[in-house]
Every structure is written in structure tokens, then in C-alpha cells.
């Protein structure tokens, strides 16, 4: 057993902290976006916003537009579970648990396939 090896319990703690941190970050970003909606007196049921465009995100956030923070919060929320799986892949690989590392990689592959299919057939 190497000194630098993390054990399973530590891996679970790290993954738990990652999930919690990602979720709270997403909630804060969404909260900023909702505050922006309220301050601007915009109705969520009014004219819809443009579909998600990653290229516009930095400009929207820099301009303090509500939809920028809302999109970013939603992206962080959706990406957090995938980040947890990526961290698990890394952790299991370090622990030498090849089967669990392969399971983690397969989960990420399914998520990636979803992205490709959605882009390809959208």
C-alpha cells in the first residue's frame, strides 16, 4: 500500500464534497440570475430567450444579464454529476480498481454519446 494511495472512504468524502460544492455553486449562480430577473422586472413567461449558445455566455455574464447567470448555473448543475463520475474514474484508477474505473469511463461515454446525438440530430 503506497502512502499516497487514497482509500475508498476518502474517495467517497472527496466525491461528496465535490457534489455539494458544485450544487451550491449552481444555486448561487441561479440565484444571481433570478435576482437579475426580479430587478429588471422581466417576466419568465414573456418572450423566450435565445437557445443556449456557449459563445454568448461570457458576454452575457460580463454585461450582468440575468440569462447569462441562469445558463451558467444550469450548466454547472448539469455538469456536476458528470464531474463526480470523472473524479471517481481518477480515484478508482489510483486505487487500482480497474473494473470500477471502467464502469466510470462507461458512464462518461454514455453522457458524451448523449451530447453527440443531441448535436447531431437536433
Amino acid at each position: 500500500m503506497g502512502v499516497q494511495r487514497i482509500d475508498r472512504m476518502e474517495l467517497e468524502r472527496v466525491l461528496g464534497r465535490l457534489l455539494a460544492a458544485g450544487t451550491y455553486l449552481a444555486v448561487v449562480l441561479v440565484g444571481l440570475g433570478v435576482a437579475g430577473l426580479v430587478l429588471a422586472d422581466r417576466s419568465p413567461l414573456g418572450p423566450g430567450v435565445a437557445p443556449f449558445d456557449p459563445g454568448r455566455l461570457p458576454a452575457d455574464i460580463a454585461a450582468g444579464r440575468a440569462e447569462g447567470f441562469l445558463w451558467l448555473g444550469i450548466i454547472v448543475a448539469i455538469a456536476t454529476p458528470a464531474a463526480r463520475v470523472g473524479a471517481a474514474l481518477f480515484g478508482y484508477a489510483r486505487l487500482g480498481e480497474r473494473t470500477m474505473a471502467a464502469v466510470s469511463a462507461a458512464v462518461l461515454a454514455v453522457i458524451a454519446l448523449g451530447v453527440l446525438l443531441a448535436l447531431g440530430t437536433g
Binding site: S43, V49, L70, I74, V103, V110, I111, A118
Partner: protein, 280 residues
Amino acid sequence: MEVTLVLAAGGVAAGLFGALLGLGGGILIVPLLTLGFGLPVREAVGVSLVCVIVTSGAAAGVYLQRHVANLRLGMVLELFTAIGALAGGLGAFLLPEPVLAGLFALLLAYSAASMLRRGVGDSAEAPLADGALIADPGIPASSPSAWGGTLSGPGYRVRGLGAGMAGSVGAGVISALLGVGGGIVKVPLMHLVMGVPLRVATATSNLMIGVTASASAIIYLLRGGIDPLVAGPTALGVFVGASVGSRTAHRVDARVLRALFVLVLLYSAVEMARRALGAG
């Protein structure tokens, strides 16, 4: 401004009810948005998926840090829920709105019937008490030679892995089509079929919700099925409501709430069925 606050308040109510009664808030969000705010079912499902991810994330983080959830079992099963969610997410854009509304009506009716059958004081996704801790779930209780045995935990041994995988695909499809966490399938599956203790099954199901819902939420996002202006206030409200509900659930007599909830579910089921039939 009023609509933003009403959406957030609706989210708070859905999250609070869900947490107090041991159901995810997701089952209330779609009826709230479709029947209350006139959103198309598919758009409501996309918003609900975001709410489900946010609500489950914080709780799953705590369950992992306390070693309540069985991480290894959850990761194996979420591979299959993700496959189901991928299929369901793509299928949701092929199915007509009335079919989605009809499926949701069936889910609501089933949930109401399950709640009536279970009676008071029992729930499939009851919040976990602080004392509900177990030692490292990754270490098998016995000494199995097969890899599947390493998915077991202290005091229990996982069985029926094949059935669990197949059922997980179904849970993923339901989650993606209807915007719910899928605990209504996963918890009984793990507990009754796979021999996982209820508290561990509940925590593990919560852990799996994130990846399951993310796999389909990405599809909704990239296909324009998520409106951030609606999703933001609703998700924020659900998060607040669920946080308050999970902290106060043990102090609330759920009997009256449960009866009220059954009525809400049945009313929503009828209205969704009317919508499916073109009368709503």
C-alpha cells in the same frame, strides 16, 4: 416580477411537499408548470430535470460524505439508468405532447395509489436521519469471489444484479420522459429485488439521480427544451423548499399532508389525462 416570485413560490411548495412526504419534488413540478403556467409538457420536463439535479445534488453529497450511499453499486446501476435516460431523452422529442401528458397522468395515479397503499409513516424516499450511518459500503459483508460481491455492504449482500440493471434502464427512461428522479422505481428495485437495506437504497438512489437526470438534461438543453427564465426561479424555489423540508420532516405529522398530497396527485392526474385527451 410577480411571475418570477410565483414560480419560485411554487417551487418552494413542490420541494417542501416532496421532502416532507418522501417523494422527490419532480413529480409536482411538471403539473405545476403545465397546469399552472401553461407550459408545454416537454418544456416542463426539461425544467423539472434541472430542479431534480439541483435538489438531489446537495443531499447526495452529504450521503456520500457520511458513507450512507453505496457508491460502487450506485455507479454500476447509474450506467444503466444513464443508458435509459439517453433513450428516453431522445424519445421525448419524438413523442407527441398528448402521449407525454398521458404517461405523466399514469405516473401521478400510480404515485397516489402507492401512497395510499403504504399508509402513514412509511415512504420510499424518506429523508435519512443523522443516525442512519453505515460503515464503508464498499467492503463486502461476506467474502464473495465474484466481482458482483464487492458491490455488497456491511450486513447485506447484493443479489439480482441482472434484474437491477434491467430495472435501472426503465428508471432512466421514466426519468427522462417525465422529468422525475426515478426513485419510485429504483428504491423498491434495490430494496425488494436486490436486498439492499431501505436507508442505503434511498441514499444510493439519490446519488444516482444526478447522473441519470444529467444524461437527459443535456439533450433537452442542446435541443432548446430548457427555458432558463423558467428553470431558474423554479429550481431555486425547489432547492429552498427541499432544504427546509428535509430539516423539518421529522417534526411534522405527515398524515394530513399525505392525504392532501394524494388529493393533489389525483387532481393533477385527472387534469393531465384531460390534456392527453385534448380536453385540457
